[in-house]
């Protein structure tokens, strides 16, 4: 789920397609579509239809997803918290002697 949200946060104005997200996140349709449904129900994503002429394109319009404006800060916080949670523990730095060398 985090990888899907990250894709939306990279460019919040960019609409995304399900198959495109499968390619970017490397997740199969069976994993991705339930995530999209969950995020849409939670109000993080809104769905819409692609603005094309089906006759000219020879195919029906695809469904697009956008991240909602309200979700962007919350999503950033959640991703930051997640990354903090899995951050490897930091090590303390060595100290230099003001007079030169190491204390």
């Amino acid at each position: 789920m985090a990888s899907v949200i990250k894709v939306f946060l990279e460019d919040p104005d960019q609409p995304r397609y399900g198959f495109e997200l499968m390619g970017i996140t490397g997740q199969p349709s069976g994993t991705l579509y339930p995530i999209l449904a969950k995020l849409e129900r939670a109000g993080w994503l809104t769905g819409g239809k692609e603005a094309i002429d089906p006759r000219a394109e020879g195919r029906p319009p695809r469904r697009i997803y956008r991240i909602t404006g309200d979700a962007v800060p919350a999503a950033r916080v959640q991703l930051a918290a997640l990354s903090e949670r899995y951050r490897p523990p930091s090590r303390r730095l060595p100290l230099l002697d003001p007079q030169g060398g190491i204390l």
Binding site: T31, E84, R92, P94
Partner: protein, 307 residues
Amino acid sequence: MTAWAWAALCFIGAALISAVGDLVSEEIRGWLDLLPRCILRLAAARLDADQRSTVYKDEWLPELCHVLRGAESRPITRLIRGVTFAIGLLIAARRIAREISRDVPAPPIPLALPNPLALPAALALPALPRPVVKPAGKSFESFYAYYYPRLTKFLQVQARDVSVAEEIAQDAMLHAYDRWDDLLTYERPDSWVFKMAIKMLRGLEARARLQPRSSEDSDNELGIKTGTDENLSDLRLDLAAALKTLPRRQAEVISLRFFSDLTLAETAKLLGLTESTARYCQRAGLAKLRQKLDPGSGQAPSLLRGA
């Protein structure tokens, strides 16, 4: 029957067999092309009746058309992609149906963070990357935002104490603020602030040396508390031991470059060296550190690698 008649018969037979073979392969191709759609229809059958038009017709089918068209001239790729896409949805159809049909308001998305206390704790820590954009404008605020953390880090390495480092950094920034209009005319205001901070630190050290030492800080020339020694990690001990052996200049260059995140040019300017001298000091210092920290393999730990 003559030989000519036999030859004609064979020719007609071969043509017939080839035509029938073509027809059969065409038929199979048509059926295989239908396979992803059939699986998708099975998946749609697992949805609730009222969801079929919105989910199947508006989303799944157009997406499958796109998948199939993307590989129009490659029948095997098309078949594999289409079938994989449709089977994934067939398996997940019930889950998707449950997600959509729930009328209750959705719970907040936890993103694998079951503990709600984890969020404030994480927020208190610098989880987001520090801004590395240098202050381009002439405002003191942007200068402060960029250089204050670097100055503090540098002083912390030098003074061994966070509170002393912060105090000196704040004083130096305060001086800079007082004469900000003058500093703007300088080529490098940051250099001025760092030099000012170093002078203040040296002054503090000199005053500490003049004061009579008490017994408990007899091993600490500056009278600055060093309460973090118990928490030293192995790496820090190793690095500390290794850095100890370096000449002062090399240790200072490495401290500024890697612990204060300054560029080579900034480091050189700050220490009053030419860039090539600073580069030499850095290279020589790092080579010595590598040898000290891992003499067997000649490899540096990741901190020093790629520097």
